[in-house]
Symmetry: C2
Subunit: 335 residues, 2 copies
């Protein structure tokens, strides 16, 4: 078969502050016919996630930085269209890390076959994928929730946060959540969250969270950092656990931003503030897929998606993460 022309999104320049359209460019590249041991995949869905912002800085991190002039990378779900290896057949559905492009040809080790079993494919980029596993492992392993405890979740309307809220309810906790619009707040209430604070309209975030959790909080699941973290430190009960999943309020800072003024509570209240990335918990993947799949089938977990269509929309989808344009998982549908 001839090579296929594949459109892709490249990093044109490193963002200063909040990413903008000019930092990205749409280009075309060849996806060659697969040789022996290779697979050619048409991407159906791709994911944009806040952590990708970190890879746009040219600095050492837990994942290497994106290179200028090259296609970005990220989770995607695709369909095998041609295979040079007997382990893959045309039509197989695969999960992989080479999103931000329409077609990809690569060695078979890069692709993992998935059995969707009635679950929509794009859920494997969300509730059954990396965000789901991030919520599940971070909350259960670091939070170690006990029934009756109070959990505070920031960025609660996002792909990870909304799942943390629901897992916390399944575990018998009281859940206080923050989000950035009344519409998101209403959705969080509809999935069982006890109290929701709109941080954009609350005149005093600390007072609002304190009113919702007058006895204090036992677990803080942090997606936001900054003022939210300061509020959580103030309201934490002794022995509190902080699952530090993200600090999106800091990702676009052009100058170093001072941290909370009350870190000394970490000592006095014996707090555990534990950062994590999902790959720390790779060994839990089987348990996660099994338990989350069960909750989904039992109707205990609901999720939302914000979908943009076509590879050209991927930068807009990504940039939208930082203004809260998404409810739940932000996705780009490619085919």
């Amino acid at each position: 078969m001839p090579a296929i022309q594949s459109r892709e999104i490249r990093l044109k320049s490193r963002p200063e502050g909040t990413p903008a359209a000019e930092n990205f460019e749409l280009a075309s590249a060849e996806s060659p016919s697969p040789g022996p041991g290779m697979v050619q995949v048409q991407n159906l869905w791709m994911s944009v996630d806040p952590y990708m912002r970190g890879r746009m800085y040219d600095r050492p991190s837990y994942v290497p930085p994106f290179q200028l002039g090259e296609a970005l990378q990220g989770h995607a779900i695709g369909k095998v269209i041609e295979s040079g290896d007997p382990d893959f057949q045309p039509g197989d559905i695969v999960s992989h890390m080479l999103g931000w492009r329409e077609y990809v040809t690569g060695p078979k080790a890069l692709f993992t076959k998935i059995d969707a079993a009635g679950i929509p494919l794009q859920a494997f980029l969300g509730v059954m994928g990396m965000p789901g596993m991030t919520a599940y492992c971070g909350f259960l392993e670091i939070g170690a929730p006990k029934p009756g405890e109070t959990v505070f979740v920031s960025g609660a309307a996002g792909a990870v946060g909304s799942l943390v809220c629901q897992i916390a309810k399944i575990k018998g906790c009281k859940v206080v959540a923050s989000c950035g619009s009344d519409e998101k707040a209403a959705r969080l209430k509809s999935v069982g969250v006890d109290h929701v604070v709109n941080y954009k309209t609350a005149p005093d975030l600390l007072a609002a969270v304190r009113a919702a959790a007058p006895q204090g909080i036992d677990i803080y699941f942090d997606n936001v950092g900054g003022e939210h973290l300061e509020v959580a430190l103030e309201l934490a009960r002794p022995g509190g656990r902080f699952a530090e999943c993200g600090m999106i309020s800091q990702y676009n800072a052009t100058e170093p931003t001072p941290g909370p003024r009350n870190l000394v509570y970490i000592v006095g209240k014996s707090l555990k503030v534990q950062g994590f990335i999902v790959s720390n918990y790779a060994s839990m993947q089987g348990q996660f897929l099994s338990e989350m799949g069960g909750w989904i089938k039992a109707g205990k977990i609901r999720w939302e998606e914000t979908v943009m269509e076509g590879i050209a929309k991927a930068p807009e989808a990504f940039i939208g993460l930082f203004s809260g344009a998404n409810a739940g998982k932000m996705l780009v549908k490619l085919a």
Copy 2:
């Protein structure tokens, strides 16, 4: 027997910022002859410790605030002079929490007999007491050191820090320490610390610690907070553990001080930042006394004391903690 006049130090006013002599007053009270179930003790040694600063604020904490006009409290070692209970005999040596006074009469439950077994009595306020157990439990339980790892200890010349350095060496770690004078630095080198940074004279603390630990740090034992914590976050290796024992740089702040500007590393490097107080590890006391006692007898642990004489000197001893007037454990000898 008649009551004994006992001099004591009372909290006269709550310090604003760094404590000053005017915040304390020397007064006299009666230590009554003990009734049934009571014991009367002459204090021989009392301890002053940085954590006491927190109890001088009128705010909720893990220990209740000191009351104005009343004698302060803290660890002390004393000798029973009269007993109303058969479990205690005159001459028994006891440990208790009613320091800052020359004599004390109280119910027997407040006093714990100690068997010094050849160890100087005042060591039970230091290496064999609360500071020793703080170093031992915090470093081993939170730090979980492995041979060959690099440990950074701030406030390393203090009662806790100097023991953490030596325990880390016993465990086969490389130790980088910070302290506030060249004399203290020389002493730390003499007990085996690999690299010592004088934070008061180093033109760039980050550069100095980085030069001493070019591969980064695996464990940070924090007594200081503030800039030291920011440096540790910058140099931490992925999976690093921070034992948050104290933040003495923050204790006298009259206005909230912003925290480190690089807390986002907690997420990206999967750091565990765990605050603690020694009472969390009460169940480890037997293990601590046994292992630390063994190290002392084997000559593996050395310690220093800074001793002031007489109850009237207690405020000066306490205030001196915040200017680094102590090398090792700061003590007041009362008799």
